[in-house]
C-alpha cells in the first residue's frame, strides 16, 4: 500500500521562535493584534508499507533519526492512505 505521511515539526514549548516573533511584530505593524505566532515546518512523505501501522513506524523512525532534533523540536505525524 502507498501512504502519505504529513510530518509537522515544531519548536518545543519554551524554545525561542525568532521567526514567529518577527512575523508577529510585522502583523502588529499592519494593525493585527495577534496574540502569538509560532512557526512550524511541514514535510509530506510518500512511502510504500504493508500497513498503516508499519508506515507510521517507519516515518516515526525517520523523524527520530533525521527529520526532527528531539533536543529542541517536537514532531507530529498524520497518515493517509493513497489511491
Amino acid at each position: 500500500m502507498q501512504y502519505q505521511a504529513t510530518v509537522t515539526i515544531e519548536q518545543k514549548a519554551g524554545m525561542l521562535d525568532p521567526e514567529g516573533t518577527t512575523i508577529k511584530r510585522a502583523l502588529d505593524h499592519l494593525g493585527y493584534a495577534a496574540e502569538s505566532v509560532k512557526t512550524a515546518k511541514l514535510y509530506t512523505i510518500v512511502l510504500e508499507a504493508e500497513s498503516a501501522e508499519a508506515a507510521e513506524q517507519k516515518v516515526d523512525e525517520m523523524c527520530q533519526k533525521l527529520i526532527a532534533n528531539p533536543i529542541v523540536q517536537n514532531y507530529r505525524i498524520e497518515l493517509a492512505e493513497l489511491n
Binding site: 525561542l16 525568532p18 533519526k65 533525521l66 532534533n69 533536543i71 529542541v72
Partner: protein, 232 residues
C-alpha cells in the same frame, strides 16, 4: 602528524583552515571530501565552517548523517582531537558528538563581527596554550548560533568545566549585551565528556595572523598540534 579537514557540499572555510594549519602552524593537513570515508592515518579532524547542504532541514543535520561521520566518531573514540568550527560545531551536535543544539539567533539575523571570548578552561587539547579566564578576540559569522541544552545537560557542562568559551565584553564580563545570539549562559564553545571533541561558533582560523586583526586563534591550532605530538 596529519590532520584531516572534512569537506561537505557547501563547506567554505576549509581552505582557510588548511592555510592556517600548513602555513601558520606548520603541521601536515589535508582536505578530505566526505565521500572518501576513510580516515586511517589521520591524528585529528577539523570540521570547518560553511553552509553544508544549504543548511537544509537544520544547520549541520545532513552532513552529520553522512558515512564519513562514522569515521570521525571512531577517531574521536580513540581520543584523537576533533574540532568543529561554526557549521562544524552544528554538525558535531547533530551527529551526537557534542551535547545541545544550535538554533536560530535570538534576533534572527546573520551576525558577522568580532567577539571577545573568555577561555573557561585550559584543560582541553585545544586550549593548553591559553591562560584560564584570558580574554581573546575572534570573529563570529552565523545565523544559527544560539546554543541550547536541557537543564541537566547545562548543569553537567558547568560542573565538569566543559564550557570552553563564553561571549564576554572586553573586560571579560558575561553580559546580555555581548551575547550575539541568545546562547544560554553566553556559551560559545563546549567539549564532550572526554574533552577531545570541541565545537565553537567563533572562527579561530580567521584570527590566526596579526595582519587579520588578531592571532589569538592560532594558539587553539597550536594546542591541538602539541596534543597530537605528545599523545600519538
Amino acid at each position: 602528524m596529519k590532520i584531516a579537514i572534512i569537506q561537505f557540499g557547501g563547506t567554505n572555510c576549509d581552505m582557510d583552515v588548511l592555510h592556517v594549519l600548513k602555513e601558520v602552524v606548520g603541521v601536515d593537513a589535508e582536505t578530505i571530501w566526505y565521500k572518501e570515508e576513510d580516515l586511517t592515518g589521520f591524528d585529528g579532524v577539523v570540521v570547518p565552517g560553511g553552509f553544508s547542504y544549504g543548511d537544509y532541514l537544520r544547520a549541520g543535520a545532513i552532513a552529520a548523517r553522512t558515512p564519513i561521520m562514522d569515521s570521525v566518531k571512531k577517531l574521536a573514540a580513540e581520543g584523537k582531537p576533533v574540532l568543529g568550527i561554526c557549521n562544524g560545531f552544528q554538525v558535531l551536535t547533530e551527529a551526537g558528538l557534542l551535547n545541545g543544539a544550535l538554533t536560530t539567533n535570538e534576533y534572527p539575523k546573520f551576525r558577522c563581527h568580532w567577539s571577545y571570548l573568555r577561555v573557561e578552561t585550559t584543560d582541553t587539547p585545544f586550549t593548553s596554550k591559553f591562560r584560564k579566564e584570558e580574554v581573546v578576540r575572534m570573529p563570529i559569522a552565523h545565523m544559527e548560533g544560539q546554543f541550547y541544552a536541557e537543564e541537566a545537560t547545562l548543569a553537567d557542562l558547568d560542573e565538569n568545566e566543559r564550557v570552553v568559551f563564553r561571549y564576554v565584553d572586553e573586560a571579560g564580563k558575561v553580559t546580555d549585551e555581548v551575547n550575539p545570539n541568545g546562547s544560554l549562559e553566553n556559551i560559545a564553545g563546549i567539549v564532550n565528556g572526554s574533552r577531545n571533541v570541541l565545537g565553537l561558533m567563533p572562527h579561530p582560523e580567521r584570527a590566526s595572523e596579526a595582519v587579520l586583526g588578531s592571532d589569538d586563534g592560532r594558539r587553539l591550532f597550536e594546542s591541538m598540534a602539541d596534543y597530537i605530538t605528545e599523545k600519538f
